[in-house]
Symmetry: C2
Subunit: 877 residues, 2 copies
């Protein structure tokens, strides 16, 4: 399984690796590539299958290929007069820059070096190559300690009075060669092999080995590269060419368009009389590619042609490497150019306009998750500030503000118009008013789906979570990072797109959506069948959602309204009420407030549906914590204060406490045992709708019940709903057309969907809770305790709270939809919650035939794109 560059299939990256495929393809379309061949990835897999042994027959094939190269180049491997030198490079199906090994100048030994010196007339150059070869080969093929070589050359350089390696004289280089050979022997116990074929065999094996090297394995794990995506590395063996043979020689890297802006200009850098690694070393500053027009006009013209050929051929921006040896241009690599979101968007639209791409192709080029970075405020790119700590990029966007350590202080300062960043170990539902007030949130614990992350994303506020470097001392009201300590009220800036934390007020800039994005979203909208709605709890969010193209609100959480600063005391009084009357009084105070919330949201969404979820969390979430109360009581006792009242509250809070609140007295369970709460909410919704209809608005309320596990629960709530709505319609004389639906977030409701469908017009998957129920994972506990380990050990391939688990949760969804629609063909099925904004999950929802996804406001754009792309892809299949 080895292929001459002329024979390899340039489309088959899986077999030839990215680099090998590129070399074959370029050879095939007539571009100047130094002769060579590829050992396929399958040989690498064979190597591991055989217990790390080079497969039989491989070296015979290699010899044949070398002979072909010898014929093409007129050089001979190991020849003392006109020796052939080759490079040996790794190359997997996916680019893994710097993760695997490369050996250059292979074929040099004490005899060939002499021949080459004579032939090139440049003894210094060739000894420089030789010492580089020895160091690289010893390290990579013979596992010698590279550092020792570095120390050695440093010592000899210093002793010779040279400043840089480039200052080394031929004599010194010869001495280094000699010392290096000794060092290799000392370090590895073996002589550096002289036989070029032996060198080549060892180099090939070294490349194979590097596939399972620590760096490469970690890289694949970190980047979630599975064996489906890249399995084994190919080995590319290619005639050496040199860009350091004088003023008519050069080396460089170029993009067919500007990868930063997407502009259709030739973009790149080069250095004359240099080798690739000189560019990397940073000793000389490379020149912009346009300067080549003056300096090497013939080569520049050739390169411009190459640029055109490559883009036309690949229909994609190419990132390619070239070397000019004594006026002759060689291409050493080409691959698709990595671009930021803006460039990807611009080039997609441009290439469509240039007829290089069809609309579908242009649409598919943008990864939906790339768009995220465009939607939020960012650190001003002109500023170079150094972060003091880094956590997880939990909710994108950048924000500055005073440090506060609790939600109450945040709310207090926030109400005065001050900007604050809430800094906590972790957040809880009772901190919600702090989120409202803060510009952003920083936590020292918790993952990307921790409470802080989820809530912040839902609100579109920046959040850095799990920033373990910061240690919070809430007593002293400060946090420390190493020796540094930051006090309350000091200003910090966080960047939730990168996870960075800065001290001070770092300027940020408002995002500007590139105009081409609108074009692409329009293409996506033309394609997609899946509706896209937003999760929004406030009129501001509703308006923003509309702006991003949301076709309605799929989840309006009423508990966030309960938590607002002006209402929480009433809510708490209602919960702690001693009598039915007292409770009724509190609810009657809440009614006009809730009603007004709905009036504002319905107005903002005039003409579009708004799904309101009735109260979901357990009541104790609105009360102070037991531990806090207990500590308070202790303090009060120490001061001889009367604790009777506090003890009474403690007793009640304890009475409401639950062992597993996630599966406790909440949602519809609460709605049934305490029907007065849902009744108040239903009244607020229907009255708000009736008022607005009178004023000429088009209101489409959808009432949704959380935590349903049985059809009988829905039946019970529905009876109350019908009674109240009929009463209001009768009194107001207005007909309110509402629809009634259920969250699908309890396993049992999915399993009994055909019964449940009898009572409702819509289902909305709450896949966060459904994932919890399906896995028996409590999200918060899982993320703090075992999920990281599971991901690390590969027990889980991905975090099921970020991306839908198709196998388990997805199967339940499928059962649910099939049974539900069989019973009621018009049933509307959606999904709300975090997964609704995850591109992979959106695609899955599209496959399942959902009517819509609903996601946080900022992810609406992402969902639109992902849904449109899915249709194109499905069509392609």
């Amino acid at each position: 399984m080895t292929f001459d560059f002329e024979k390899g299939d340039g489309k088959n990256k899986k077999l030839l690796g990215g680099k090998g495929a590129g070399l074959c393809e370029m050879t095939r379309i007539g571009l100047p590539v130094p002769p060579g061949f590829v050992i396929s990835t399958e040989v690498c897999l064979e190597y591991y299958k055989e217990g790390e042994k080079v497969p039989k027959g491989l070296m015979d094939e290699v010899r044949d290929h070398i002979r072909t190269i010898e014929k093409k180049t007129g050089k001979k491997f190991g020849d003392t007069q006109n020796p052939l030198l080759v490079s040996v490079r790794s190359g997997a199906a996916l680019s893994m820059p710097g993760m695997m090994d490369t050996i250059l100048n292979l074929g040099l030994n004490d005899e060939t070096v002499v021949g080459l010196a004579k032939q090139t007339g440049d003894e210094r150059f060739i000894y420089d190559c030789y010492r580089r070869f020895i160091q690289l080969f010893s390290k990579i093929a013979m596992q010698a300690d590279a550092e020792k070589f570095d120390k050695k050359i440093e010592m000899l350089r210093d002793r010779s009075g040279a400043k840089f390696d480039t200052d080394l004289t031929t004599e010194t280089l010869k001495k280094i060669v000699k010392e290096y050979k000794g060092l290799c022997k000392d370090e590895t116990g073996k002589e550096l092999p002289k036989d070029p074929y032996m060198q080549l065999g060892m180099a090939i094996e070294a490349v194979f080995r590097s596939w399972m090297g620590r760096r490469a394995v970690d890289y694949r794990k970190f980047n979630k590269i599975t064996s489906d995506m890249a399995n084994g590395t190919a080995v590319n063996i290619q005639t050496m060419v040199f860009g350091n043979r004088g003023a008519d020689s050069a080396t460089g890297v170029a993009f067919t368009r500007d990868p930063g802006t997407g502009e259709n200009i030739f973009y790149g850098e080069y250095l004359t009389n240099a080798q690739g690694e000189d560019v990397v070393a940073g000793i000389r500053t490379p020149k912009p590619i346009v300067e080549m027009r003056e300096e090497l006009p013939k080569s520049y013209e050739e390169l411009c042609k190459v640029r055109e050929i490559l883009e036309k051929h690949y229909k994609e921006i190419q990132d390619f490497e070239f070397t000019i040896e004594k006026g002759k241009l060689y291409l050493l690599q080409t691959r698709n150019g990595k671009m930021n979101a803006i460039a990807t968007i611009k080039t997609s639209v441009d290439m469509f306009n240039e007829k290089l791409l069809r609309k579908d192709e242009a649409l598919l080029r943008i990864r939906p998750d790339q768009i995220e970075q465009l939607l939020h405020r960012a650190i001003d790119p002109r500023i170079t500030a150094k972060p003091v700590a880094t956590g997880l990029a939990a909710s994108p966007g950048a924000a500055s503000g005073q440090v506060v350590f609790d939600a109450d202080t945040a709310a207090e300062l926030g109400s005065k118009g001050e900007k604050v960043i809430m800094v906590r170990e972790e957040t809880k539902p009772e901190d919600i008013h702090g989120f409202f007030a803060a510009q952003g949130v920083l936590t020292s614990r918790g993952g990307k789906t921790s409470h802080a992350a989820v809530v912040a994303r839902g609100m579109g506020k920046p959040c850095v979570s799990g920033c373990e470097q910061i240690k919070i001392d809430s007593h002293l009201r400060l946090f420390t990072i190493g020796e540094k300590s930051i006090k309350e009220a000091e200003i910090i800036t966080i960047d939730g797109s990168t996870g960075s934390v800065y001290v001070g007020d770092i300027p940020t800039v408002e995002p500007e959506l590139p105009k081409e994005l609108e074009q692409i979203l329009q293409w996506a909208d033309e394609k997609r069948k899946l509706g896209v709605r937003a999760n929004a709890d406030t009129p501001e969010d509703a308006r923003k959602a509309r702006k991003f193209g949301a076709e309605g609100i799929g989840l309006c959480r009423t508990e966030r309204m309960f938590n607002a600063v002006d209402r929480l005391p009433i809510v708490q009084k209602m919960i702690l009420a001693e009598s039915e009357d007292e409770r009724a009084e509190c609810l009657s105070k809440l009614l006009p407030i809730q009603k007004n919330d709905f009036v504002e949201i319905f107005k903002a969404m005039n003409g579009l549906p708004v799904t309101v979820r009735l109260l979901d969390p357990p009541l104790h979430e609105f009360l102070p914590s037991m531990e806090g109360l207990l500590r308070e009581i202790t303090d009060m006792k120490a001061k001889n204060l009367d604790t009777k009242q506090k003890e009474e509250i403690f007793r009640k809070v304890k009475g409401l406490a639950e062992v597993n609140p996630m599966m406790g007295h909440r949602g519809v369970r609460l709605g049934i045992t305490n029907p007065e709460i849902y009744e108040m909410q239903i009244r607020a919704i229907i009255e708000a709708a009736a008022d607005l209809i009178k004023q000429g608005y088009d209101v489409k309320p959808e009432i949704m019940i959380p935590q349903v596990s049985m059809a009988s629960e829905l039946n019970s709530v529905k009876q109350n709903l019908e009674r109240i709505s009929q009463e209001i319609m009768k009194n107001s004389g207005v007909h309110v057309k509402y629809s009634f639906g259920t969250m699908m977030e309890v396993v049992r409701s999915c399993l009994t969907a055909s019964k449940i469908a009898e009572y409702v017009e819509f289902f909305s998957f709450g896949t966060n809770d459904l994932t919890q129920g399906t896995f028996s994972f409590s999200r918060e506990d899982a993320e703090n305790k075992f999920l990281p380990r599971y991901l690390d050990q590969g027990i889980l391939a991905f975090n099921p709270f970020e991306t839908l688990d198709k196998e388990g949760v997805g199967r339940l969804m499928r059962i649910d939809i099939e049974d539900g629609r069989r019973k009621q063909t018009n049933l509307k099925v959606g999904i709300c919650g975090e997964h609704g904004g995850d591109p992979e999950s959106v695609r899955f929802c599209s496959t399942l035939g959902l009517n819509y996804v609903s996601c946080s406001v900022y992810r609406v754009v992402i969902a639109r794109l992902a849904a449109g792309q899915e249709v194109v892809k499905a069509h392609d299949l």
Copy 2:
């Protein structure tokens, strides 16, 4: 839909009601039944369908039937000379004694009473009938207040100097009749109708109405009688006969065999010259039926024939009512006799031996849950003690002991051989050592599936739960019941079969299993395909389980071993260990202890499989509670003691604390993050097995992993298991044949059974957790917060933690079994946990094709019976 007794289908209780069917059947087989007819239950349903209106045409049919009766009896309805009187009785498909209404002597009015007085020559008798009729009719058909009638007769009786109603003279009775008629008018605004047909129409409607009366509705709810079982009541209209017409008249009730012992003797009571209600009134003491042989020899002989005919015909013990009017015997009702467990068992075996029943029929006669009462110690039936409080009968059996209020005291006293009853508000996993030490448990909170109930049942110890009358003051070390207070160390007795709590040491008796039960269980064993195993954690339980016929241990919980008094400190030290070494040291101390546990259990189950579940609960369950620690620290601070160490423990406990521990860091999750714990347990199991095999024992260990949601989890544990077991086998030179399996208690594992089946030899359903996950109900929170309300409102028809939810959980189980067996045809599938001992759930498991159920030791017998019966029933269908 009305039927003459000669025409009705005596098998169709659903249509004719139990009483009507019995009357028709007896008429058909030639027994002397006074002529009459039945209005079917369908007419009652029609009545409600029409909005509580008597269906058209009904009264025409009734008139036809009355004319038929008139022909048969020669009497005439409403005739002044020879009037016909009838009774109007309700009768649903299921017996609901006393819940619905009956009117006797209908047809009396001011004219017919005179005719009858003449005809019978007994004026007093007939006016007594008349006044009874007026009172009953006014109350039932005209909704008058019955109490007013009672007061009236009381007054007139007192005034006339009579002591009992029987002492009333004819004159007084006539006066009462007059006053009653006036009272009826005053109370209802209407005259008592004279027209017998009007009386009859009103009486029929009253019976229909009584079906939805408060009493009847509550009765059906309480007894879980659904509309499938009984829907609507029939109305039986029958010629009146009188047992109070002199010394040759009598009335009585008889059983064809003794319902208390099951002995084949004629059993019953009678009164001469009496009506049915005289027996109930208790003024005269009825005589045993044998005395009739002397007193009314002819009638006795007739009755003995009836007894024989009835039993042969019904193939069931009959409970029948009769009246003898002037020497002539009439049968008024027959139904299957209600018997206690012992009688049911004895009669089954007897009737099989007498060839009255086939084996299958005999086997089906015993309700499995009836057997429960036979398996436990009971209060000595010769003692008449009055309970001081009553809670829920949570775990059967009776026990006495000193009151203790915490597990530590229980353990301390228990270790000294003292008998204690642990009394707590509710129990928690950390109280487990208290359960081991106590004779029984009494809690003031929690239902029949609360922690206390489940653990006690698992151990076969008596438990009374949710005894809300008792108020515990753990500070004063006492509990109160109203004014009464019981201090620690006082003796109490609890009866978990009835829920009764007694003060003092009430003698109890050891249960004696009737010898016939063995016979019946043998029949069940012949039939059943479902295996029956026991849940047992100790050698004693294992031995007991074998005695009850368990075919292995289906669940041996290792955490109970961790909780034992001598181990808990080591376990806690292990959890709190600062270093890997310290933890390893603790585990190495636990290893020999665990190993010995297994040695003893394997010995006891020699030749039978033992399924050992590796550690399941989260580690914090083994540590003190946060609240307790916090209070301790507060106390210590008040005393100026050094709290540093406690604070450190508090910090650790807090670190381990979880938001939803049920779905947290436990089971296999813990096994993967802390592999050293499972490794120790695996080592203990395999080493124990190896040692015993060397000694010649036949050991069949099955290693079971809890909380699995993904195949990858099992893969990870399996690798460790194989490594360790191979190492032990190599070192010991013994081959240990073990099998590897998983709990099926997480929804996702059911949904991905085909993948999971690749790694295991068996599945064992943990339907408690599976029910929690499917409903999103946290059992403890549900039972304390909303489950009672759900059951009360009929949102749930049954408690899914007691009886398997076939629709939801059952569907998951079906998916799981089908997918699992498709992948691996030999897959063994069982169920362990509470549902495994619930007869209804056992039947369902049999239908699903499970290999075995495993239940608490005492329920093994119940499961054997239920499983055998299910096969017979399935065969019948």
